[in-house]
C-alpha cells in the first residue's frame, strides 16, 4: 500500500509567510526524506531525518518526525517566490534489498510576491 501521503495537496501563500506540509506513512521506517521538484525538473533532495530523530533543521527548513503517529512535517520559514515547487516526502521501500523510495503524492506550493 502507498506510503507517504502529503497534505495539503496544494498551498498558496505570500512571500515571507511560513509554509507547512505534512506527510503520513504506514509502515515502520528507519528514515524519511523530503524532496523538492521544480516545474519540469528532476527531484532534489532537501533533508533526511532518521527514525531516532524528532526534529532537524537545514537553513530555512525544519522537519519533524513523529514515529508514534507515523507522520512528518516540513516547515519552510520566510518563504520566497523561488520556493514555488512540489514537495514530496519519501520513505525507503520496506523489505527490499535495494534502497528504492516510496514517494507521496506531493504538495504543490505556490509563493507569490
Amino acid at each position: 500500500s502507498q506510503q507517504g501521503e502529503e497534505d495539503p495537496q496544494a498551498l498558496s501563500i505570500q512571500e515571507g509567510e511560513n509554509a507547512t506540509m505534512n506527510c503520513s506513512y504506514k509502515t515502520s521506517i528507519n528514515n524519511l526524506q523530503w524532496y523538492r521538484q521544480n516545474s519540469g525538473r528532476g527531484l532534489v533532495h532537501l533533508i533526511l531525518i532518521r527514525s531516532n530523530e524528532r526534529e532537524k533543521h537545514s537553513g530555512r527548513l525544519r522537519v519533524t518526525l513523529d514515529t508514534s503517529k507515523k507522520s512528518s512535517s516540513l516547515l519552510i520559514t520566510a518563504s520566497r517566490a523561488a520556493d514555488t515547487a512540489s514537495y514530496f516526502c519519501a520513505t525507503p521501500k520496506p523489505h527490499q534489498a535495494g534502497t528504492a523510495l516510496i514517494f507521496g503524492k506531493g504538495t504543490t506550493l505556490s509563493v507569490s510576491s
Binding site: G42, H45, A97, G98, F103
Partner: protein
C-alpha cells in the same frame, strides 16, 4: 557537469513503436533506478540496479526492459509503446552504503508522449 543525465529530454512517438531512454551518472554510485511519474505527479519505482545487477522489478510490464552495461549507465528500452506509457521517466542513483546511502540524485527526466 551534470551528475545524472538522461537523454532525450522529450520523446514523442506513435503507439506500437519501440524507444529507448539513456541514463548516465558520474557520481560513482553503485545503485541506479528508474521511476515513472504520471500526470498527477505520482512517482513510482520501476527498476533498481546495483552494480549492473537487477535488484528491484516492480511488476512492470515486460515491454519495459532495463539494461545496465556498467554501473554508471542504466538504459530503459520500451517495446510496443501504449498510450498509458505516456509519463515522465526519471533516472536516479545513490550510494550503496554509508551515511548518504538513502539519498537519491535524480536526472531531469524524459517526457514521453505516446500518440
Amino acid at each position: 557537469d551534470t551528475a545524472v543525465s538522461q537523454t532525450p529530454k522529450y520523446l514523442v512517438t506513435q503507439m506500437g513503436n519501440d524507444k529507448s531512454i539513456k541514463c548516465e551518472q558520474n557520481l560513482g554510485h553503485d545503485t541506479m533506478y528508474w521511476y515513472k511519474q504520471d500526470s498527477k505527479k505520482f512517482l513510482k519505482i520501476m527498476f533498481s540496479y546495483n552494480n549492473k545487477e537487477l535488484i528491484i522489478n516492480e511488476t512492470v510490464p515486460n515491454r519495459f526492459s532495463p539494461k545496465s552495461p556498467d554501473k554508471a549507465h542504466l538504459n530503459l528500452h520500451i517495446n510496443s509503446l501504449e498510450l498509458g506509457d505516456s509519463a515522465v521517466y526519471f533516472c536516479a542513483s545513490s550510494q550503496v552504503r554509508g551515511v548518504a546511502k538513502n539519498i537519491q540524485y535524480f536526472g531531469a527526466g524524459t517526457r514521453l508522449s505516446v500518440l
